[in-house]
Structures are given as structure tokens and as C-alpha cells.
């Protein structure tokens, strides 16, 4: 088991985002994966960070509240009508 706070842990934690974003070379990924296989603490951080990113990316941002949407549609219609006239 690797001690948390060892240089390996610091390097892994510093590179997690690049790892999760698919920005690392295969050999660099293997270093992280090998480390996490023997370091429960870093593996937990990676899992928790993946969960955090998943939560952010799973946000459903597309819907405006109906009142706001109606106002926005009315603004568009008014602008286009004004420009046509």
C-alpha cells in the first residue's frame, strides 16, 4: 500500500484531471492506474472526482422556465417584426 502524501500520490492527484480528460499518453495513464491499484486513498479521490465531473456534465441546462421562455419568444417575434417593417 502506498502512503498518502508520498511523491507518487502528489503526482497522481496533480494529474487526475488530465487523466480523466483523456489528455495523457497511454504510459502516463498506466502509471496512474498502477498507483491507484495499490493506493486506496488515491483511487477513492479519482472515483469521487469522476462522480463530481459526472454530476456537472449530467446537468440538464436546456429548459428555461416557461414564463422566461414566453418572454424570450415574444422578444424575438417583436424584433423580427420590427426589422421586417
Amino acid at each position: 500500500m502506498t502512503e498518502t502524501g508520498s511523491p507518487d500520490c502528489a503526482a497522481v492527484l496533480g494529474g487526475i484531471s488530465a487523466y480523466l480528460d483523456g489528455e495523457l499518453e497511454t504510459t502516463e495513464c498506466e502509471v496512474i492506474e498502477r498507483h491507484c491499484a495499490s493506493c486506496a486513498s488515491c483511487a477513492a479521490v479519482v472515483a469521487s472526482l469522476q462522480e463530481t465531473i459526472g454530476l456537472c456534465r449530467g446537468a440538464a441546462l436546456s429548459e428555461l422556465p416557461s414564463g422566461v421562455r414566453q418572454k424570450a419568444q415574444a422578444s424575438v417575434a417583436q424584433l423580427l417584426r420590427k426589422e421586417r417593417d
Partner: protein, 218 residues
């Protein structure tokens, strides 16, 4: 690059990190297609584009600036600026970045015009560099979000994430919202915020770690 093979540590990421760049490309291409059509008189494309511009403005006002009371004005700015810009745009692929920059600036200008604005608010024109030598992005002050708006944000991102996001400073929150929620690329976020790409990545990493810790505490 490693791509898909980077995710074998257990928990999968919703909308996976590996598909994120293509998500960004697809959205940019969709905007560009609407811009091209709108520029040659396709009214339906123009309507969709103008609605998109207002949606971006509304979300940015609430999620990044935390000032829903400004949203209506920022939406109106986005509407008019988009309409004027479409006929002049030379590079439709750059439209999406332009839109977010315009909305961000509108939010900041709106804050500056308020009579009760804190004197410490940095103006958009003021430059300066941060500790890494990168141009400083301008932060806007936080404000309390009304319960009704909290409910709306909760319906988008959930209560836990809304509360965790509120704990981030605006300079970090803008990176998370643009990159993770709006699905913009690192390069686009760098253009919008004025940070270097390296700084966007560094800030995104710090912001993710802070969010993670906040979420664990909630």
C-alpha cells in the same frame, strides 16, 4: 492521447470525458450552421439562434454571476447583439465563443452600472496578470440568489451541486460552468475568459477538487 482507455478505475463519468471534445465540436458546428442560414435570410434559423442567445444569457446570469435580477437585461443585450452580429460575421465557427464573450461582458457591465456596486469591482478594461503571468479574468461579486431562482437552478443541477457551485469564487465557477456544463472546449473557455489554455486546465482541476470536497461535506 489515451482517449477511451483512461476510464477503467471504476466509476464512469456521465457523458464521458472522452466524448466531451466531440460534444463541443458538434455544438459549435450547430451554431455555425444556424448562423450561415440566418445570414442569408432563413428566418427560422434566425429565431432559433436568437432563442439560443437568450438561453445562454439567462443561464450565465444565474449560474455564473448569481444575479438573476440582471438576466432580463442581459438576455435583451444578447438578443440585439446577436441579431446585429449575424449579418457581419466572417467566421460562423467562432460565433459560439463570441456569444459567450458577449454575454459575459454584458453581465459584467450590468454590475458596473449598478449604483450600489462595490467599489472594489474590477472593470473589464483593467488588465493585470495573475500569479502565473496570465491575463486576469474579471470576477463579479457574488450575491444571494432568491429562493425561486434556487429552485430553478436545483431543477437544472440539483441542490447539492448548486450549493457546492455557490461556494466557488466566480473566477473558478465560470470555468466549471463553461467547460463542464455548457460543454465548451478548453480553447473556447480560454478565449472567453482571457486565461491561457494551460491556466484554464489548471483552474478547472482546482475547481473540480474544490467542488468534490464541497460535495463530500454536503
Amino acid at each position: 492521447m489515451n482517449g477511451d482507455t483512461a476510464y477503467n478505475l471504476g466509476v464512469s463519468v456521465t457523458n464521458g470525458s472522452s466524448v466531451h471534445p466531440s460534444r463541443s465540436d458538434a455544438a459549435r458546428a450547430e451554431y455555425a450552421d444556424l448562423v450561415r442560414k440566418a445570414a442569408v435570410g432563413d428566418e427560422a434559423a434566425m429565431e432559433r439562434l436568437l432563442m439560443r442567445a437568450q438561453e445562454v444569457a439567462y443561464r450565465f446570469s444565474l449560474l455564473v454571476c448569481g444575479h438573476p435580477e440582471d438576466a432580463e437585461d442581459v438576455m435583451q443585450d444578447a438578443l440585439l447583439n446577436t441579431y446585429r452580429h449575424v449579418s457581419q460575421i466572417k467566421d460562423p465557427e467562432a460565433f459560439r465563443t463570441w456569444l459567450y464573450q458577449t454575454v459575459r461582458n454584458a453581465c459584467l457591465m450590468k454590475r458596473r452600472r449598478r449604483v450600489d456596486e462595490p467599489a472594489t469591482l474590477t472593470s473589464i478594461e483593467q488588465g493585470g496578470v495573475d500569479g502565473d503571468g496570465d491575463p486576469m479574468a474579471v470576477d463579479v461579486p457574488d450575491a444571494g440568489v432568491r429562493p425561486a431562482d434556487q429552485q430553478l437552478i436545483d431543477s437544472w443541477v440539483g441542490e447539492r451541486l448548486r450549493r457546492a457551485l455557490a461556494k466557488l469564487s466566480p473566477g473558478y465557477r465560470v470555468i466549471v460552468v463553461l467547460r463542464e456544463m455548457e460543454g465548451l472546449s478548453t480553447r473556447e473557455v480560454a478565449t472567453i475568459t482571457g486565461f491561457s489554455e494551460a491556466n484554464v486546465k489548471q483552474r478547472l482541476h482546482r475547481a473540480r477538487m474544490m467542488l468534490k470536497e464541497s460535495l463530500e461535506d454536503l
